[in-house]
């Protein structure tokens, strides 16, 4: 039974470890370098202020960015950003997955998206998840 316990513990560690992945894709002919102004729409279910983190990071990257509860920007922008954050509990809550989409401000078409998945043992802060996801999108 002791051996069984060790095997189970090892398997659990493997499951919790998983693999961290990130990826991004761009629509054909999408040119993100033309974008200057952004609006980040808060996901209605988000109570962690991820929209503010995204807007802040975009500002750091040199773009003009604002965020808000409204799903449409109060004034015209080059791009609207949407996102979905997924959280898990393992000792503490952590963000396991973040998806971000960049939409054309005029048509709403998705120009690009990025996704980062980080299991428990490779977890990052929400700020780190946002930085990594925007990093792969605007690479």
């Amino acid at each position: 039974m002791k051996r069984l316990t060790h095997i189970a513990a090892l398997l659990l560690v493997l499951v919790l470890a998983g693999c961290a992945t990130n990826r991004a894709s761009h629509a054909p002919d999408a040119d993100l370098h033309k974008l200057k102004t952004f609006y980040v729409a808060r996901l209605p279910a988000d109570e962690n202020g991820v929209e503010k983190l995204i807007a802040k990071r975009l500002n750091v990257l040199g773009y003009q960015s604002a965020s808000g509860d409204a799903q449409t920007p109060p004034s015209p922008v080059d791009a609207v950003v949407t996102y979905q954050d997924r959280w898990m509990w393992d000792i503490t809550m952590y963000m396991i997955k973040l998806d971000i989409q960049v939409h054309d401000g005029a048509t709403g078409a998705i120009l690009a998206n990025g996704e980062v998945v980080r299991p428990s043992l490779q977890r990052k802060s929400p700020e780190g998840m946002v930085e990594e996801t925007l990093g792969v999108i605007f690479k």
Binding site: T82, Q84, Q101, A109
Partner: protein, 177 residues
Amino acid sequence: MRLRSACAAVAVILVAAGMTGCATGAKSEAMVAEKVAVSHQSSSNVTVAVSGGQSTSGMGASQISDDDFAHALSDSISKSGLFKEVVSNGGRYKLNAFIGKVDQPVFGFNMTVKMEVSYTLVDTQSGKTVWSKNIASEHTAKAGEAFAGIKRLRLANEGAAKANIEQAITEISAVGV
């Protein structure tokens, strides 16, 4: 000691249940729109191009690949008669589909996948975009549909993709190219 043994046994069972089988990608045949009433049938042919999808790794979550979505979209167009023919290259029209969002749950009993695809239909003779739209769809695979979570996620992927394709065909037919 008895409690410890029981805990160990439960842990093994949970791990075994969690690791049973590998994730499989959405199947193209399950994403095909079967019966879509089109208001206009084009006498031209079309080429389909899909991007933004991703392949499935055995240890990861079920995904929708470009190839499988393209096959499903092509088969759906053929079945509906939306265009005269789907050709691999050089069609009069080119339908681009960019899979921009596939929002999947990490776990759960009822699994809902929300999907957004940006479509553009281009007249290759004039080079003009004759239609473009961002289409959102979703599908929930309920707990009773499959025991394994990886299968429920695949079913949710397939349902969301199928609904998306159905809506795209309906809207393209209204353009009347």
